[in-house]
């Protein structure tokens, strides 16, 4: 679909900037959830630099789009974006995990401007996102929103339903082992939460090993579909596919279906030493090698 090559190239540059910031984060922290952070970089970049409705001067703007990072251990990916938006100072990149830092080990709503959900206990984010989407439905019924959701590509789009805000939830594949996700899926379908987009960062690995060995979740798309969701599968490292798909689902508000984008990704993507072993958590010496590699690639 209709994103210009310039827009895509610009976003790809942003994704590399985010990766450079992540390398800086690991350089000082010497530890962190490396694999799941790197696999979600392109998704996070497309959301924050292109798709989300945000106010750069007010991270609490009531009509901002919500991002619920259910896999809150991948917070480094969003932390790497926040200084670029201006929600936190760039110095924070050197304070990940530090005592009293705005960059806590897992995403934390109270500490960090721009974070909407305090996660870390897996499997709850989709419920929280569904609750926020339901809140929007109740609010909008009473107070119709003032700003029309549009994107660069569909400026004259006439929406069947104009949500005050949309809710984007990023879930990991491993955390889909948690039964609560499926409670949330039933809930979202029941209340026709078409303002909710669940993006599965499907990097195929969880802590103990491959998802298909630990607890198989396939056929994942069919499962979401059977729960009444609109499902699309994409390459989660193709900025073009991510942005086009996000714009496509943007077209569908009012169809009464919650949206699921299954993004096929690679654990540790972008840092060869992490990618080669599908690393979940990096600490100390291993981090030094990865940082050296990262510096060579991203500057």
């Amino acid at each position: 679909m209709a994103h210009s090559p310039e827009v895509i190239a610009e976003l790809e540059d942003k994704a590399n900037l985010v990766r450079r910031n992540i390398v800086r984060i690991f350089e000082s922290s010497k530890q962190g959830h490396a694999g799941g952070t790197m696999s979600s970089v392109d998704i996070v970049t497309a959301l924050f630099f292109h798709h989300l409705k945000l106010d750069k001067n007010n991270c609490d703007w009531p009509e901002r789009d919500r991002v619920v990072l259910s896999k809150a251990h991948a917070a480094e990916a969003i932390y790497a974006v926040l200084p670029e938006i201006g929600y936190v100072s760039r110095d924070m990149l050197d304070k990940y995990y530090a005592f009293r830092s705005q960059f806590q080990g897992h995403a934390d709503r109270w500490c960090t401007p721009g974070i909407d959900y305090s996660g870390g206990s897996l499997g709850q984010g989709l419920s929280f996102a569904a609750g926020m989407a339901k809140a929007e439905k109740i609010h909008t019924a009473i107070h119709p929103p003032t700003v029309q959701v549009t994107t660069a590509n569909y400026p004259k789009l006439i929406l069947k339903y104009n949500p005050a805000y949309r809710v984007f939830c990023i879930v990991g594949d491993g955390e889909l082992n948690e039964g609560q996700n499926w409670e949330a899926m039933m809930f979202a379908a029941k209340y026709k939460l078409d303002n909710l987009v669940c993006i599965v960062d499907y990097n195929k690995f969880q802590l103990d090993g491959p998802v298909e060995m630990i607890m198989p979740i396939e056929p994942l798309a069919d499962k979401f579909k059977s729960f009444g969701w609109d499902v699309r599968e994409i390459n989660g490292h193709s900025i073009r596919e991510i942005t086009d798909t996000l714009d496509l689902v943007n077209n569908l508000y009012g169809d009464g279906k919650p949206k699921c984008i299954i993004a096929h990704t690679v654990k540790g993507h972008g840092i060869p030493v992490w990618e080669s072993v599908h690393l979940h958590y990096s600490r100390l010496e291993g981090t030094t090698i990865a940082v050296k590699e990262g510096r060579e690639i991203y500057g």
């Binding site: 039964g179 609560q180 209340y191």
Partner: protein, 332 residues
């Protein structure tokens, strides 16, 4: 009849269940942002919502984990969500969800729960650990009213307070006495001395306040002047009030319907040990689960089986007084 303090007028047993209903109808007219998050277990005042505000009913079905997190998210967006079920479900089934998605961010969710250590439904539903398993959770206020008047006032105060609250309703316990007058000024975090006494003090919560009143009347006839301190806010605990009665009598009996491990008795014990040494006897369920009993006279039988009746309190008061003499503790 013993002499009680202001705002106390002992009356016949009155069930508390209706109080929450009445209070809910009052508060939902004052707060148009209350939403009820159902877990297939009804809700006090639900009929009002069905009739007047069906758009504010969010039914999650039998999925308490999801329900708790949905409530947290609705609170994040400015609503005052209520969740309601048995404690074993609404609290324990969703313990980590409440911790992570409600308490960590101090979301303004009201958790109302039917629970009591006794009752018809038996071991699965009659929770003895309700206070113990919640008292350790940061950011959570725990209310456990003693009678219908206090239940209604506490329910309203819970909504006026901004933050997460666990409101306990001891539905299947025997109906408590009517204890308070209509002008009783309930305040979250304040214990109320129902009766002063110089020989000993029973520090009681919930239905056990009624048994404490019965016990005090028996002891009065035996020539002992025993006070009653009603703890309706389990957390934050009114330590000042506990220290005051401990210094006055140096003989304390705690009385609660649930387990004595981690319950009110242990909370009081830490206050006494740290600030006001006193002889202490803890009355409550002794490290065991409950069982079924028909909601007639059998509930009383079960209560006596657990050693939670007035006559058990009478023995415990005497034991506390004997301990005080043994420990040579001096009253102020």
């Amino acid at each position: 009849m013993a002499k009680y303090n202001k705002y106390v007028q002992i009356g016949p047993a009155t069930a508390t269940a209706g109080a929450a209903e009445t209070a809910m109808v009052k508060v939902c007219q004052k707060y148009p942002n209350i939403v009820v998050v159902l877990e297939d277990m009804g809700m006090p005042g639900i009929e009002w919502f069905k009739k007047n505000a069906p758009e504010r009913i969010v039914e999650c079905g039998i999925a308490e984990a999801n329900g708790a997190v949905i409530a947290g998210a609705l609170a994040a967006e400015g609503f005052i969500p209520f969740i309601h079920s048995f404690s074993f479900a609404v609290i324990e089934r969703a313990y980590n969800q409440i911790r992570q998605s409600i308490l960590v961010d101090r979301f303004n969710v009201k958790i109302t729960a039917r629970d009591a250590p006794w009752g018809d439904l038996g071991i699965s539903h009659d929770i003895v650990e309700g206070i113990a398993c919640t008292r350790c959770l940061p950011n959570l206020v725990i209310l456990n009213p003693a009678d219908a008047v206090e239940a209604e006032k506490a329910y309203i105060a819970m909504v006026d307070y901004v933050g997460p609250v666990y409101f306990r309703m001891e539905y299947s316990a025997p109906a408590p006495y009517k204890i308070f007058t209509e002008d009783y000024p309930f305040e979250i975090g304040k214990a109320y001395a129902i009766k002063d006494g110089k020989d000993a003090t029973i520090i009681a919560t919930g239905y056990l306040v009624t048994e404490a009143i019965k016990a005090v009347e028996i002891l009065e006839k035996e020539g002992l002047d025993v006070g009653i301190l009603n703890i309706s806010t389990i957390k934050p605990l009114d330590e000042e009030a506990i220290i005051k009665v401990a210094e006055q009598t140096r003989a304390i009996v705690t009385a609660e319907g649930g387990t004595i491990i981690g319950g009110l008795g242990d909370a009081v014990a830490s206050v006494l040990a740290e600030s006001a040494p006193a002889a202490l006897v803890k009355v409550g369920v002794e490290d065991e689960f409950s069982q079924s009993a028909r909601l007639t006279a059998e509930v009383d039988e079960l209560k006596d089986f657990f050693g939670l009746g007035a006559k058990d309190l009478v023995i415990s008061v005497k034991e506390a007084i004997a301990k005080r003499e043994q420990f040579k503790l001096v009253r102020k």
